[in-house]
Amino acid sequence: MSEHRPSRSRDPVDENGELAAGVAAGQRMAFERLHARLDAGLRRMFVRRSGGRGDLADELVQQTWGRLWQAVAEKRYDPARSAVSTYVYAIANNVWLQHYRAARRSAAAELSDDIHWEDRGEDALAHAELLDALRDCLYGPGPSAISPDERFIVLELARGGTERELASTLRIAASTVHARKLSGHEKLRNCLHRKGFSQEIVEQIRLLLE
């Protein structure tokens, strides 16, 4: 991941970067503040992903914070490479994927998978770096930047909306929604490529393999 160094987007929950620096330095106060900001949102995310299982969500949230603490202790979080909230999200996604895969595999396979994942401490940071780069492409300025309409459409579709629903909401033809989605995707792919994120790089990030 050394050939690219994307311009990191500002962290909306840590505008001046103090929180990320504090977390990276292992400051307990910073960790507690980050926990206070993101814990409830993480739980909601896991509840949604697990189909309403609050007990499982609680367990996965705990695992997420544990992993973060461990990563910080092992100096694996670099605030210069990713926003702290993005990094926490990447860890949470990692935790979820491990749970999801483990639930589908035998105990032996689960064990070997865990060992393999423990050896891939770089994954969450690389994943967070990629997500920050995409957020830069989505919200950043520039002559080839994605337009507001395209941004709205690609994000609403990513949230589960349909082209027909968006067409109705925006009072435009469904074919126009589709065309703007494609043009938005094209701009984002080009933007990521300019930032050094090729398909080959993405394939190295296991957390994307949903």
Binding site: P12, P148, D149
Partner: protein, 226 residues
């Protein structure tokens, strides 16, 4: 030669960014957001009001300071722009002093199911809300949380159109003047371009200025989008 990211991978990433954005929005609405020391007194230093990059709705936002209601007064000191997304507000202006208090008024365009069109809306952050959301605890850069408040008002979908952030100074305890607010919105809806994104914040600010009292000063620079 390296290949660009496959479309299916991009869609996975976009789902994750949308989820991350939601997580961030929830984080900003948490009461403990910036409360490092909840009992600490408010700093006397100049404070920052930050309008956070909530999706792109604020991308072309502009800031205005106005004396909107008949008995409201214009702030004695205007806010200055202190960087992308930041309005620097003098301490006495931010907190109010004596018989005056400061509120924030957000003016924005959003879809309206009533008229099946895009219309201007206004949402006021009271002194209490400012205390809870903008200055929660002191010592940290305060934030106006617009995302969840607007979503809670069920005004979505918000298009990528300007939001004007107004700081209003009024006598302590003065009732909200809904009629004056309605007059302002009516004026905006009749004058300001409602359809077609892309107009610059300067264009919107110029149009909005027409609906405001002469004494109102407008800061047309975008708060976000640099």
């Amino acid at each position: 030669m390296s290949m660009r990211i496959h479309p299916d991978r991009l869609e996975v990433l976009l789902r994750q960014v949308a989820e991350l954005d939601d997580l961030i929005a929830k984080a900003r609405s948490a009461g403990s957001l910036t409360a490092t020391h909840p009992d600490a007194p408010l700093s006397r230093a100049a404070r920052l009001i930050r309008v956070r990059p909530w999706v792109a709705v604020l991308a072309t936002a502009a800031a205005i300071v106005l004396s909107l209601m008949p008995h409201w007064t214009a702030p004695t000191r205007e806010p200055s722009r202190a960087g992308t997304g930041v309005l620097r507000v003098a301490d006495d202006l931010a907190n109010g002093r004596g018989e005056y208090e400061t509120c924030a008024l957000l003016l924005f365009q959003a879809w309206s199911n009533d008229c099946v069109c895009t219309r201007w809306h206004a949402r006021e952050f009271s002194p209490d809300a400012l205390a809870g959301q903008v200055f929660p605890g002191g010592g940290m850069a305060p934030a106006i949380d617009v995302a969840d408040s607007l979503r809670a008002a069920r005004l979505a979908p918000l298009l990528n159109e300007p939001i004007l952030v107004a700081l209003i100074r009024r006598p302590v305890g003065a009732p909200r003047d809904d009629a004056a607010r309605e007059m302002l919105l009516n004026c905006l809806n009749e004058t300001a371009p409602c359809e077609g994104a892309g107009a610059s914040s300067h264009v919107y600010a110029a149009v909005v200025r027409q609906c405001l009292p002469a004494a109102v000063s407008v800061v047309p620079d975008p708060l976000m989008g640099e």
